[in-house]
């Protein structure tokens, strides 16, 4: 009986202390008593800490040795993750810049009327020198069809030659089968843009009597006769003339054009989908 009474008193005492310290944790008599008690105990704690310090240091030393290898592995893993993150950030930054350029083009004065852009990204690139096609992450569900022109922020890229619901294949200007009606914006000379040596293009079918100058801007020709509508709207920048040559036996000028679009490193592109109003044109 006495035992239970003592225990009950102790528990009640603990609860009382707990209640008082809970209600006034930073002030009051109990807090002052506790502070005094802590001051009295402090020397004992310091003494214990000093006695234990050599052992703790020794433990810390050996623990550090034991964990150094695993820590090294962990740090290497973190470094790899951060490096991947930095690469992703750099790629994201570059993509953002391209999208900004693309947006500037789409809202600029050279953007063709009656076309709406379907902004998308390139999801596969030419697999070798014999393939001049890329796949984009948008398809017929976005309104893209066969022969839909595709541009980047810099200029014309090519046209869609195969399309499914969510993906389309774009044949680049550098493909041997590609031919785009184009004109020299300075002189008004017309011709056909075809693939040229290396990563350049050729403005073909330009008579020797006509004048084309180095540095001239080449854009798409667009539809000249409504009965024969062109695949590309007028005015999409294609490239700049980098050399003009001729020979006695050739019927046409040899006009070499450097494309504006970086066809080897495309990332963000826009497919130009004809709006309904334009589709009603004959």
């Amino acid at each position: 009986m006495l035992r239970r009474l003592i225990v009950a008193l102790l528990v009640l005492g603990a609860l009382a202390l707990l209640t008082i310290s809970f209600r006034s944790p930073t002030s009051g008599v109990l807090h002052d008593v506790q502070g005094t008690g802590a001051s009295i105990l402090r020397p004992f704690q310091i003494a214990a800490e000093r006695v234990a310090r050599p052992f703790r240091d020794a433990y810390g030393y050996f623990d550090g040795l034991a964990s150094a290898k695993s820590e090294n592995t962990k740090l290497r893993r973190e470094l790899r993750d951060w490096r991947a993150q930095a690469t992703a950030n750099a790629a994201g930054s570059r993509r953002a810049a391209e999208l900004e350029k693309l947006l500037a083009y789409e809202t600029g004065p050279t953007y063709p009327t009656n076309y709406r852009p379907v902004n998308t990204s390139v999801i596969s690139f030419p697999t070798g020198p014999f393939s001049q096609q890329v796949a984009i992450a948008a398809g017929s569900s976005s309104g893209i069809g066969i022969n839909t022109p595709v541009v980047s922020a810099d200029g014309l890229v090519g046209r869609v030659t195969n399309v499914v619901s969510s993906t389309a294949v774009v044949t680049l200007l550098t493909d041997p089968d590609s031919a785009v009606a184009a004109r020299d914006l300075t002189t008004g000379v017309s011709g056909l843009i075809r693939h040229g040596p290396g990563s350049t293009l050729i403005l073909d079918q330009v008579s020797k009597q006509l004048r084309v100058h180095k540095g001239d801007l080449i854009v798409t020709q667009g539809t000249r006769d409504r009965r024969y509508p062109d695949l590309y709207p007028y005015g999409i920048p294609i490239g700049r003339v980098i050399s003009v040559g001729t020979s006695d036996i050739a019927s046409y000028l040899t006009v070499q054009v450097a494309p504006f679009a970086s066809l080897a490193s495309l990332d963000s592109v826009a497919a130009l989908v004809v709006t309904k109003r334009a589709a009603k044109l004959p």
């Binding site: 005492g13 603990a14 707990l18 008082i20 809970f22 506790q34 802590a38 704690q45």
Partner: protein
Amino acid sequence: MNVVDGVKAAALLFLAAIMQVSIFAQVHILGGVPDVLLVMLVAVALLRGAIVGAAGGFFAGLLVDTASLGRLGLTSLVLTVAGYWIGRYGETTGRDRAHAPFLSVAVVTILYSFGLLLVHFVLGDRAPAGAMLRGLLPAIALNLILTAPVYAVVRRVLRPYDRSDLATEVQLLG
């Protein structure tokens, strides 16, 4: 239980409380923290019974809460109950059994952890049960490692009662 025994038990618990607050509280092994005070209390309670266990728990908890400037009475409450239970176990079934200290330490470590968690929870403090559970098994193992040496020291300081000290007959009253 005489006064000398009480002073010895208080000295042992005082030493253990100071060591716990100053040294052992900083030792983290596999997420567990050894509790030499709890082991010491178990040893004292097993050897001197429920009253000493409860009073020792109260006293040791008060020391811990004072030294760490924690909430007064919180540790006392849990250790009082723990000391009483272990003392009762020592007075009854645990007496003279070799495994009693180890079993008591293992059980009390679990109950003490959950008791503290419960009190913190009731008071509305931050009570991360997940962290406590993760460190529970290592803490039990560490406390069990401490049990043999601590119990040996306490047994040397507080000698177990002889058979003659214990009640040998009953007297019917009335």
